[in-house]
């Protein structure tokens, strides 16, 4: 099976051709937005990070920016800094250029440019050139074995584990069988299901890292001395019928399908292996999606029971409804209905196949509802305190 994608000079594959404007610090958000709003064909993100951070947080924040810049869905990058922040725009721009020498990368520093208007002008002129170059590229046929799928569930209900998640698991299996890659994540939503995922690990080391990663997360929640419920499962999850984190996890783990687990990687770390990979992320939809996009995933399939609008600026996100009632209520946001499984009209295998076919269409250029709505949600997992 093939899709129509962009082949990059280093051999990697993109399914979008974005020019990304990315601020490395919260203080540069408005200039980044100003650049993007002046240049059609660009996308931008904003966030609250980049300064007053301890080293592990600063390193993770920088890794997220670099990962977005190097993601093959991105043609070129304008990096915007203020000039005095912890996560320096010059360093981020230099690292993107080092990892992807073929990409146009421009760095704007607001304090050096002479203020916001001048920084917006400088960034917009550079972004303009990039969009012009990007528009010259054509798509070509590429085998789906080169696709990296990010799986996600958010706003889950009790049907997520019966319909949308197992159907996404089926699509994930089909992609892996074709030689592709799939990411399972959301560590807190594997609490109580770790034995299911660990027994599929390709060796003892991967299994042990799986248990250790999930235990570390549970320990951090327990250390605060509160009942997780209400934080996760969320009030919406509970209203939808989920009673405990174990119940949520056992439904969540289905979205990772049934194939062997080849590796466990950290938040926003680069995906280099084929097959099923577990990335350690929070369950928070935005932080999770951001981590997978930074890791290099091309496309995300996001299952939901309650309905959610979330999307990444650079990674097309396909929404799958777990129940027909919500699908009919949230058609603005939902791309596929898996509620047909609960209704007894389709099998998990049939819906899984439909998800894979939709992935191929989206990888070839079809816009998802989240893209049409302009969702550019972006959130970086925070480790320690703000200084």
């Amino acid at each position: 099976m093939e899709f129509m994608g962009y082949r990059r000079p280093d051999g990697s594959v993109g399914i979008r051709n974005h020019v990304l404007v990315i601020p490395t610090v919260v203080c540069a958000n408005q200039v980044a937005r100003g650049i993007s709003q002046n240049v059609k064909g660009t996308v931008w993100v904003e966030h609250q990070h980049g300064c007053s951070q301890l080293a592990p947080d600063a390193a993770q924040t920088a890794r997220v920016f670099i990962g977005h810049g190097t993601n093959p869905n991105v043609f070129g990058v304008v990096v915007v800094g203020l000039g005095c922040e912890v996560v320096r725009a010059q360093d981020v721009a230099a690292e993107i250029k080092k990892q992807c020498p073929y990409k146009p990368v421009h760095c704007v520093i607001i304090q050096d440019a002479g203020g916001s208007y001048k920084a917006i002008t400088e960034g917009a002129i550079e972004a303009h050139k990039m969009v012009e170059q990007a528009s010259l590229l054509s798509r070509e046929p590429i085998d789906i074995s080169e696709l990296i799928l990010g799986t996600e569930c958010g706003g889950s209900d009790a049907c997520s584990g019966l319909s949308a998640n197992p159907a996404l698991g089926e699509a994930s299996d089909l992609l892996i069988d074709a030689g592709g890659t799939s990411i399972l994540s959301e560590t807190p939503e594997l609490i109580g299901a770790e034995h299911i995922i660990a027994r599929r690990a390709i060796n003892e080391d991967v299994a042990n890292r799986c248990y250790a990663t999930i235990k570390a997360f549970e320990d951090s929640a327990n250390a605060i001395g509160v009942d997780m419920r209400g934080g996760n499962p969320t009030p919406g999850n509970i209203e939808g019928g989920l009673s405990s984190i174990e119940e949520k996890s056992l439904g969540c783990v289905y979205k990772g399908g049934t194939r062997p687990l080849v590796d466990v990687i950290g938040y926003a770390e680069k995906i280099t292996k084929k097959g099923l990979i577990y990335m350690d992320t929070p369950g928070n939809d935005i932080e999770q999606l951001t981590g997978m996009a930074a890791g290099g995933c091309h496309i995300c399939v996001f299952t939901t029971g309650r309905g959610t609008p979330t999307g990444s600026a650079i990674v097309p996100t396909i929404k799958v409804a777990s129940n027909t009632a919500m699908y009919n209520k949230m058609k603005d946001n939902i791309d596929i209905n898996a509620g047909t499984i609960v209704d007894g009209e389709e099998t998990i295998q049939q819906v899984g196949r439909r998800i894979l076919e939709e992935m191929v269409r989206v990888a070839s250029g079809k816009l998802t509802k989240a893209e049409i709505l302009g969702h550019n949600d972006f959130g970086i997992q925070r480790i320690g305190p703000t200084l």
Binding site: D157, A158, C159, G161, L162, P188, I191, G192, A193, I196, E218, A221, N222, A223, I224, G225, V226, D227, M228, R229, N232, I238, G240, G241, S243, S244, I245, E246, E247, L250, G251, G305, N323, A325, V342, D343, G344
Partner: protein
């Protein structure tokens, strides 16, 4: 066959998930490993929520997907709504650890 009102995922499960809202006093049929079991639903079960299909004693594990999703905090009878009022999660419970200290 009409659409089932509740689904049982694995034969050892002691709860079923409602695929539509079930009114109190409704008799439903659930399929467990191909066998049809009649349940008299005694409380309203909202869509997506769980109904007990067996007697579950206080402290006993509540099983869905063939796995423990928590434990009963009180005795639960078949046909009763099984949710956060009578099911306690066992994981990620810092409050329980604090009590045990």
């Amino acid at each position: 066959m009409s659409k089932p009102k509740a689904l049982v995922m694995k034969p050892i499960d002691n709860v079923a998930t409602a695929t539509q809202e079930i009114a109190a006093g409704t008799d439903i049929v659930v399929s467990v490993d191909g066998k049809m079991i009649n349940i008299h639903v005694t409380e309203k079960i909202p869509f997506g929520h769980k109904v007990a299909i067996r007697d579950i004693a206080a402290g006993e594990k509540i099983i869905k997907y063939g796995e423990a999703i928590g434990a009963a905090t009180v005795d639960i009878r078949p046909g009763q709504h099984t949710h956060v009022h009578n099911l306690g999660g066992l994981r990620g419970r810092g409050d329980l650890e604090k009590e045990n200290k």
